[in-house]
Amino acid sequence: MSYQESQRLIHQAEEAVREGDAKTARPLFLEAAIMQQRLVEALPPQRVKTRSAYGLSVASLYFKANELDESERYAHAILSGPEVEPVSAGQLRDLLARIWNTRHIKSLGAVPLGNPLTLIFRGGAVGSGIAPLETIDYGIQTTLNLVRRFEAFTRGLPFDPRARSGTGSMLRALASEPVTGSYRISIYITAPEQLQIDYEAMSVSPDSVIDSAMEFMDAAIINDSSGVESLVPDQDYRTTLIRLARNTIPDGHSVASVEWRRASHDREKDLMLSASCRKPLNALLKRNSPPRSENPDEPRLKPLVGVLRAVDLDERDLRLVTDDGGKTPLKADVKITDDVLEPLLNRRVRVMCRQEKRSPRLVIEEIDLASLPAPKAPPLRGSG
């Protein structure tokens, strides 16, 4: 039994994880945990930093071995010791939160697959642990739609404009502890408990779905057309994913920024989304959309702005209520997919439409959130 031997076991376990073989990895992590635990317990009391750091290591190895009870017990044991080095203490508390979240998901008959994607909302109307519900709801919905569509793409499913959820896995959003000056939500990919091993052995891992979605966003928000194309060669999927990505961009008023943070197996990855990301996404969409042939019988009209209402979503019949109260009947073009459209309902949007010759309805060719109208100045009180 030695530290070096535990390192060899950890490396073997990580290789197994890389190959998607969780069944082989777990007992290796467990054996390494037990080995390191014995070494920690043999430390003299004055080795505070060493005990704290390697206590964290032991608890983390138990977690990676899916021994949640042992991991929790050991983390508490280290934290309740006479002295704990602060960096390790913080990481132990994060680990405990992660264990509790994992248990909560299991109590729902599911298991978390991979690491969660955390959304951190800041600025605008977002306070410390509080935020307008519809703002958070919109942020979660648009992010879920993007990840679900990515799941369909990475699994090689045929493009479906009516797709409303990824097949075979359940995305759950759980509220996390607030961080000062922000509000945060973690999105976990979960699967029914009895199917866990099947999911972990899939050639397209749930981890890779979220990783791919983040990589796509990373390229998209800097208008990296070749990067986006290499990640998603299929044009239908690509243009839809760009629209879905655009939907996730904060408006700059109710939310100033949204950080995507992903703690994966051995690294942390993050993105910062703000209103300024909208412009490169618009440019990217323009470049990736098929060229529109001008048809004099179906002229393109000036953009319209108003609140989008659903009349019959199954038939894609919509209505735009403009600022002056006017109601314009609309129909969504087939390329504007349901998952792009749904979060925009009952919101102020800007639409580009064409007039179809044989229909009274305008056809939406592009749609995006519109900026809020400037507030009207209150009337001045007259004197005297």
Binding site: Y3, R18, H265, R267
Partner: protein, 193 residues
């Protein structure tokens, strides 16, 4: 050493044989990390790659030699994010050794990944059976982050804040940017809880 790497000048660096100088690395780990780094560099550069390294505020340039990965290595390092992570470990440890005379003596597992324990070579005398001694003078904790194309400075600032958030423990943060061929190594920001 292979022919490709045989004409390295004294000031050049080579992504190879890390385990021979870093007691905290097994041969398998060291080889894996170097291969990962070669795959990451291979996306944007050819060997040798001119690296800009800033360590403790001092900027310098290093010529980094690495062996072009073959098809088998590319396949085994197929997960891009894992390759960036592991490749960053190799490059960061190599630069720490070259710029600051620090070597890896151990690894600390966390639920999100792993930190490193680094020390001057003369301190790295822990026995095989013992845990690396973080309480010994000169031994510090290192957190490494890699980025394929993204911003390096902003990532470093975030890492520094993470290291300092828990208190005044000494630590180093190292960020490796593969496309930018850039390595930043800085101590954590002192102070705030």
């Amino acid at each position: 050493m292979d022919d490709e790497l045989s004409t390295i000048h004294a000031l050049d660096l080579c992504l190879c044989g890390l385990h021979q100088r870093h007691p905290g690395l097994t041969e398998a780990m060291g080889t894996c990390f170097c291969e990962a780094a070669s795959v990451c560099f291979g996306r944007y550069h050819v060997s040798p790659t001119t690296m800009t390294v800033t360590a403790n505020g001092r900027k310098s340039t290093r010529s980094l030699h690495w062996k072009a990965p073959d098809q088998r290595i590319r396949r085994s390092q197929g997960n891009k994010d894992d390759a960036v992570r592991d490749g960053a470990y190799a490059v960061a440890l190599l630069m720490l050794e070259a710029q600051l005379r620090l070597v890896a003596i151990g690894r600390i597992e966390t639920h999100t990944g792993a930190d490193w324990v680094i020390a001057p070579p003369e301190v790295a005398d822990a026995t095989e059976d013992d845990l690396p001694n973080l309480d010994a003078p000169g031994v510090v904790r290192l957190e490494v982050s890699g980025t394929d194309r993204g911003g390096v400075q902003s990532r470093l600032t975030r890492k520094q804040k993470q290291l300092s958030a828990g208190g005044s423990s000494a630590g180093l943060a190292a960020i490796v940017g593969f496309q930018k061929a850039l390595v930043l190594i800085e101590p954590m920001v002192n102070g705030a809880n």
